[in-house]
Symmetry: C2
Subunit: 149 residues, 2 copies
DNA sequence: TATTGTTATACTCTATAACTATA
DNA sequence: TATAGTTATAGAGTATAACAATA
């Protein structure tokens, strides 16, 4: 029980203007969708970014750091330390590209590959919240990609 | 010119799986939409969160900190320091609620009100990126709100 | 006892500058 | 001279615990 017998109920919050803004809606939607995925990945001692890197490296042979960083919006210095950590955890390896010795080709270790396969299906199972039909889910993703692809 | 005459073009990145995930799409869309708004607000020495607070307080008389924090996903300690800063900048004031002296009612100062009105129209003008039709824009917002409202 | 808000602090994330090595 | 990546570090954002005042 909240309040007492003579109290007015809290008026609903008016966020009409904010709700008309694309950026606000994208962020609030992300903040709603992300926590369950975070909790799931935490069981495997993975952060969302790390899972993203696993996916990108698993599905792109010979990918280098520049392309990883561009794709997932992580700057070179921050990607370097992120990959350091994943490498220490035995998830991936870096080797010099013989065709251009400045760049490093990133590849998953067998453990990294195994972890990706395990977590991938779990993450996929969290897709499509109850509040969206299958059609709405697909439509939403299609529209979001028009923004950033 | 990139590469040399006999080099293969970089194969396009395969992010098929990631692009099927709602959370990934929301985040990437946000990361694309946010920077222009950030730059605009920076001219007024405002951060996006601060603008959000301005909007919420301007449109909700008698709002207290608990409801602000719940609505915009900011924890009580972090909201306290955020409001401290905005108060120091002369944008808002906090007064005890006479009906419940635990809570503080937040209200804009005339300067805060003026700043909100100025920035509000500028922010609104950044809405609807060229890649979306008016219908798509409205449809996208409608679907996002099904996720978090 | 529970709730609102504050303080202090730790932790994480992100951004910037300077550097090495290759091209 | 430009590019890929690294190191070090600063700054911003987020999370947690302990507390005071009020209900």
């Amino acid at each position: 029980m909240t309040g007492h017998s003579t109290s007015l109920a809290s008026p609903p919050i008016d966020q009409t203007f904010l709700l008309s803004l694309l950026g606000y809606n994208c962020l609030q939607a992300y903040l709603k969708v992300a926590p369950p995925i975070k909790r799931l990945l935490a069981k495997y001692k993975l952060k969302p970014v790390e899972f993203t890197v696993l996916a990108l490296v698993a599905e792109n042979l010979q990918i280098n750091q520049k392309r990883i960083g561009e794709t997932i919006n992580v700057s070179p210095p921050n990607l370097a330390t992120l990959l350091d950590r994943m490498q220490e955890n035995g998830l991936l390896e870096r080797q010099r590209n013989p065709r251009d010795k400045r760049s490093h080709i990133v590849a998953l270790t067998p453990q990294g590959q195994a972890l990706y396969e395990k977590t991938r299906s779990s993450v996929a199972n969290l897709e499509r919240p109850a509040s969206l039909s299958a059609d709405e889910h697909d439509q939403l993703i299609h529209l979001l990609q028009k923004l950033f692809l």
